[in-house]
Symmetry: C2
Subunit: 316 residues, 2 copies
């Protein structure tokens, strides 16, 4: 999907095409998958990591089939694959390919980073491309955009930015996370009165400056949690060229009114992620009452479509 | 090696046993491996990710054989394996097992973290143990201690701490990294005059407080770069119960006198990592002149032994 066009432009094109700002988080938890699907793999492989990985892979395949007309991208939280070891990461790689087959963009929620030379190795792993002469590079973990941690400053970011630019990929740096204790570090107030996350926001806007596409947005965006609506609004003003990836919608507590400030006046510039609220929709109200476990895919589709409509209408 | 004893006690026992505070960083770069070893795998598998992974695995096996009597632990920087995809991560898993066979502790330099529930999945991936009833958990990426990123605050740390405590594993949280731009975020001065990394240091010491072993040190330690000697000294005072993992020695510029302040009065409480300076010792002075490419393992052993002696003598 990506690789031809600047990431921010590819994302906006896809948004317009499907009329959606929704990202579905594929964060599979084995104990919440449909029982029939789990029974099937356990019959063949017992309760092994391989069985778990196969169940996850098959679950994702069906979720992708259910949501592909209503969402811009999927976001795969790699931790839920990494915990099943090598087999889990094979399921991650398979899921990425299947999402591409359905024309969705894929965000690898990997939150990697390190000092410069190591950041380069991570960038190669997740954004692809070669480095060492004749060696063919692995493509297993290559996605359209990856999340990165800003704790190392500029020289952790540069290898990612250079590679993303060359490969027409995207990045989202953590600015303000959606978890309850995010203020402990991110909210520290500096001696000029500004909080740490606002300084990070300033750095992100600046790091991304040389890498803007036709939409005006940079390939480097920011992760800003839906659970911080005040921050969302002021960060949108402070970072006019940074795409926002907004987690924390739904199960974590953020609602439509909380995320509207993330968007620009055209309803662009941001995508909102929901994981549990969509992929496990049939297990919680209101979908639980309307769709039983047999019709879980319909519940997933309905939840994605509902979120799509709600967001689109609130921003257009 | 671990799993029976509190991590900080296991580390100190091993330090006394081998009279060493050295950690060797297994950060394999394909273009720096011995040519004979690379030729051998390329003959069989071409310049494929699998060939790279096999070369790395074999290189690590020989490095472990060369250094095991002189070092406390190995630190595997997962980025250099992840970049070779699934095959690379199999080489990571093999290397961990081989280090254990030689009684070394293994630090997974993974710098993972995320919001709470996701941090739990990462903790399971890298520290092991079960979560979901009958499911056997993968052990591919399980190590003795893992590095973690503190950007999320307490609720990113808790799942790691609880699991480490239960499984007798260790953790090292990033406090002050060794890269040139580390001050951009970590050095922000708060309104009370204290820099961000000192506040993180305070949090780390406090997070680790319930998890101290017989040595007085917690299972939660701190990453503090050798390139910041002033910070090392004051952080040692500020964090009397936190083990230090000190990167940045050798190739990155830190010397013996820079890292001495990391240790307590018994020469304990810290380990110092060197990667390129040891594993590629035969490619740079002074070892290049004494050992040719044929005797690269002897150069690796000599470099590890030299660092061991230098540090031990400077701190005892």
């Amino acid at each position: 999907v990506s690789g031809k066009q600047h990431f921010a432009d590819a994302l906006h094109d896809r948004m317009e095409e499907v009329e959606s700002q929704v990202v579905v988080g594929l964060d599979p938890r084995i104990d919440r998958l449909p029982q029939s699907l789990v029974d099937d793999v356990v019959d063949r492989h017992g309760h092994s990591p391989r069985a778990a990985a196969e169940a996850i892979s098959e679950f994702n395949r069906r979720v992708l089939a259910a949501v592909h007309e209503n969402v811009v991208a999927v976001k795969c939280q790699v931790a839920f694959y990494e915990k099943w070891g090598v087999e889990g990461l094979k399921a991650y790689a398979r899921t990425v390919r299947r999402a591409w087959d359905r024309d969705m963009l894929v965000i690898g929620d990997v939150k990697r980073n390190d000092i410069g030379s190591t950041a380069g190795a991570y960038a190669q792993a997740h954004l692809g491309g070669r480095n060492e002469g004749m060696w063919r590079q692995a493509r297993d973990f290559v996605v359209d955009a990856a999340t990165v941690n800003p704790y190392f400053g500029t020289d952790g970011m540069e290898p990612f930015l250079e590679r993303a630019s060359k490969r027409k990929k995207g990045l989202f740096a953590l600015v303000r996370t959606s978890n309850p204790s995010s203020s402990e570090l991110q909210g520290i107030r500096a001696d000029d009165g500004e909080q740490v996350f606002r300084k990070v926001a300033r750095m992100v806007e600046q790091w991304g400056e040389p890498y803007r596409g036709e939409s005006g947005y940079s390939l480097l965006g920011a992760v800003v949690g839906a659970t911080q609506p005040d921050a969302l609004e002021s960060l949108r003003e402070q970072m006019p060229h940074s795409l926002f990836l907004v987690p924390g919608f739904g199960a974590q507590g953020g609602g439509v009114e909380d995320v509207v400030p993330a968007f620009d006046e055209n309803g662009g510039g941001a995508v909102v992620n929901s994981s549990r609220g969509i992929i496990f929709a049939w297990q919680t109200p209101p979908y639980r009452n309307r769709y039983g476990p047999d019709r879980w895919m319909q519940a997933v589709e309905a939840a994605a479509a509902h979120m799509q409509t709600e967001l689109w209408e609130a921003t257009h």
